[in-house]
Subunit: 360 residues, 2 copies
Amino acid sequence: MMRRIVLDAMGGDHAPGPEVEGALAAVRERPIEVILVGDEPLLKERLARAAERHPGRRRGKITLRHASQVIAMDEHPGAAFKAKKDSSMRVAFNLVVEGAGDAVVSAGNTGAVLACGLFLMKRLPHLERPGITTVCPTRTGSYCVMLDMGANTEVRGSTLAQFAVLGSTYARTLLGHARPRVAVLSNGEEETKGTEVTREAHRLLAAFPDGDFEFRGYAEGRDVFSGDFDVIVTDGFTGNVALKTFEGTLRFLFETLEAKARRSRRAMVGAMLLKPTFRAIRRLLEPEEHGGAVLLGVDGVAVISHGSSNAKAIKNALFTAAHLAEVGLTPALAEGLARHRRLWEEGAEPPAKAPAAAEG
Amino acid sequence: MMRRIVLDAMGGDHAPGPEVEGALAAVRERPIEVILVGDEPLLKERLARAAERHPGRRRGKITLRHASQVIAMDEHPGAAFKAKKDSSMRVAFNLVVEGAGDAVVSAGNTGAVLACGLFLMKRLPHLERPGITTVCPTRTGSYCVMLDMGANTEVRGSTLAQFAVLGSTYARTLLGHARPRVAVLSNGEEETKGTEVTREAHRLLAAFPDGDFEFRGYAEGRDVFSGDFDVIVTDGFTGNVALKTFEGTLRFLFETLEAKARRSRRAMVGAMLLKPTFRAIRRLLEPEEHGGAVLLGVDGVAVISHGSSNAKAIKNALFTAAHLAEVGLTPALAEGLARHRRLWEEGAEPPAKAPAAAEG
């Protein structure tokens, strides 16, 4: 059966250009159906023009579904979600809820995507909060699943314990790690480090050795790339800061390198010779290559593409969505949450207040 | 007058080797006095051996001060501080408190350094908590002061507002920024983003336009390197995660580059030609070049060198300490805190509870 991926065609910063091009690229490469949701006349016209430029054979197909409204990037997520019932994003999510699609992709307002996930798809049973997940390359060539990358700025210890279950199920389903090594992000490896919230998560996870994952304690910021962990959980505030620090460091390095190369003939030649290598590294690190972030913990597959996604990023997000629907991510998550519920339900007495280690 | 810098010679991971070598290198280059504190017979012997290897002229001088105990890296900071009254670290701090030294440098247990600062030097008036500061290079060639890098895992909004005063005074004194541009680290630029704590800090700082700094709102993780801000304040948990993510990204990039270069002749030649450039970039980014972190907000100059510091890092930390004593950092901070106290004292009514934007 051809997977049906619903694409919010109006959400991204440059919509619907990259969405239309990305959908077309996807159906040329693979036998999937992409349901483009948005202003139908506009999409029809754009699609016709794009098809003229790329007349090749299609292995999949594209269908259109009209939606009269658009949620803008700078709108208040909750208010926009409530007000715009016929927005491309809501219509797209509803198609999956109604069973007319197998997964949804949006490059739109992340807060509104979260609202659609929570209020249309609904949370999976036993879960406090869904989380946004991304996948980072590591030094050993493996990948590390990180969450939450921005859905929840403030969490409880039990939320992080649940993220461990979500993340490890994702790592197993998507990356094939048999028994993922899981850690809580902290400011040091010793279990006395961290905040009250991370220490509570550490306590819950350490007291539950029979999970489908191996709890390895705390990880530090540098461990994201170390290859020593398959899953690192944190709150959405810290996750966002870590992700953007990573992006900033990359940009700083490449720009500094460029500036220095411009001032030295020798460096210029070196940089030219290394160009394919740099390109390969950037490709390794750029989110468009990995097909976007995933909203984990709602009853359906929802892939969040970066607002500034180009056609390639959209295409990869569509492939990720199709793959996650194919391998049954949602039932695997539901089962994982049910099987591990003792982890946070029984361990949930309030922790003894431990003093922060660094404060003597 | 020759500045007298007290060096905890037993604190670092490899003590006292790098401490002795670093002190010797420092006094060869500049007319400062380094007071080495630790096991006197051991230090005497190491110093004699090191001096044999480097018989050159000294512009400054080294003196020794015995201390019978050492606080280890893995000891509980508070307990070790209390128990080891004759530790090299406590003796070193006390020399500055008694006026026998102008500044102190330690590569030892950071928590214990914090305890020495708090309980021996004492906090400056009007301050809730001291913070650990580091300086990052930016794309524009300027430097950005970041704090707190690990002294306080959990803070209040008023603590961050005070960090803004500490950081901007440091940026003015050390880097010469006339009116530093200050931001609070957050997960987005809009003032509705962040945690309750960052929103409270935002509110306090925005309501106080007449500071010796310009409040620019929120900064994101990538802004550390953007050059748009001179000071970015955060709690010690987030600061530590950001710093280590930065270190991890650097290491990942250079290692990946090396691995790829090994597999391609073209890339190998390119990497060889770029070697001096890479070295220059690493130098720009490595903390040993910048002379370590500074404990801001205690009544005295205390420089924290990385535990794994080599002789060069120790030397630069000694120079930083001498410079900060020279330019009068401590009186400048005391004056800044007194002048800005209205910022957190009058603005300190509890904030209206704002919902997290991303949560709809």
